[in-house]
Symmetry: C2
Subunit: 243 residues, 2 copies
């Protein structure tokens, strides 16, 4: 039996916790799934059949093994774990991006990834330091939507702007003092929506980049939560694209 250990950032593999999350990876990136563990208490269901069918077709080992769950999962409602070989993505330079500058929270990152997939913006740039997108907490919070987006890390804003962010591209940094209201701003494509850290927002220098925008809200709160602000930006920028 392969030794299974709690995730560490330097590992070459990560894992999906939960049947729905695992099924996303099996559907979208089966070649990166190296093994599937199923809990003995996982009841017969359409989901179970789908998982077993893909494993058979793709030659992925599917093992019933309850010990793995004790080591990797604290949640009582997790009955499937898919092991994932970490992979590298390239951003599509022709397409719109979300740029996360120093994102700090795994749950927030996952929620943002899910919204990106939902609004068809499939390229995410992360400016270091930033949360590890391969962290199982991120994958779980994304409901497996991480499998559907390209993501890449950059050491600085400049590195992004000179490489994948170069060319005919429109930058929209989201800032509390952005000079333009989001709902009065025409978002041109391809765009890069640029979001700061949960606690500190974007550094002031971003007010000199592209068209800084703000989402208007009352003074009752300091700021909107990061996934909320990002998703409102995505909603506004992609309105009418899916009709």
């Amino acid at each position: 039996m392969a030794t299974v250990k709690r995730y560490k950032k330097e590992d070459l593999t990560t894992y999906c916790l939960g049947a729905t999350v695992s099924l996303e990876y099996l559907n979208i990136r089966p070649k990166d799934v190296t093994k599937v563990y199923v809990h003995s208490a996982f009841y017969e269901s359409e989901t179970k059949e789908k998982i077993e069918k893909i494993c058979r077709e793709e030659g992925i080992s599917c093992e019933t093994n309850d010990k793995v769950f004790q080591i990797l999962s604290q949640k009582e409602n997790c009955f499937v774990i898919a092991m994932i070989r970490k992979y590298r993505c390239e951003l599509d330079k022709e397409q719109s991006h979300v740029v996360l500058v120093n994102p700090g929270n795994a749950g927030n990152a996952g929620t943002i990834i899910r919204s990106c997939a939902g609004f068809g913006v499939r390229n995410i740039a992360i400016i270091r330091p930033g949360v590890d997108f391969f962290d199982p907490k991120v994958i779980r919070a994304s409901m497996g939507a991480l499998s559907r987006v390209n993501f890449r890390y950059y050491d600085s804003w400049e590195e992004y702007a000179e490489t994948d962010g170069a060319g005919q591209r429109h930058f929209y940094p989201f800032m509390l003092d952005g000079s333009s209201l989001l709902n009065e701003t025409k978002i041109c494509k391809p765009f890069s929506l640029i979001m700061g850290n949960e606690a500190t927002g974007l550094p002031a220098m971003f007010s000199g980049i592209g068209q800084p925008v703000r989402i208007e809200h009352t003074h009752a709160i300091d700021s909107l939560n990061l996934p909320i602000a990002t998703s409102i930006g995505l909603y506004e920028a992609t309105k009418g694209d899916f009709s």
Copy 2:
């Protein structure tokens, strides 16, 4: 010393975990704060001074007591706990509402409350069964914004519709198969944005109530996360209100 116990739903008091959250309650509802506990490791800061000042002015006991933190808080970054006497709110029948039908998750409820405060919709109806808004997890996820909204529980949609939801009011149930696109729908005031449970959405009968709306997204995801969908609804419904 008063005995301090982990929160249970039937308790008459609840608590705020964290300095920022506690300060919100001290600022907005000081009369409902019965006691403040400060950890001995809480450094001198503007926040600490503000908290101590309000406690002095309002005659609230403020005690340094590290044991309370071991009992009530699992987080290492929690240095202030404010005890709150539970209170009853009335919804404002003239104002817009958010109606949560069977909300299941405390973190989501808190995020929704924060967005409601942010977009100036200060009245929230909860149709039972639903998560307990006084749960410390809800208060913490709201960043204390629970203090700024009115909320009330109803045993059924009918009970809400016949009481606080009665009168000249426009209902917008958010449904995956809503007949009108959110961005093409004129949201009239006062409105009630009606949101379903995280896993199951709204019961089908809501398609016969008011103007069901949907937020368009790709097929890459089943649905947007509940706080995201609610916040996009709030954003669209209050656009231009704060300029």
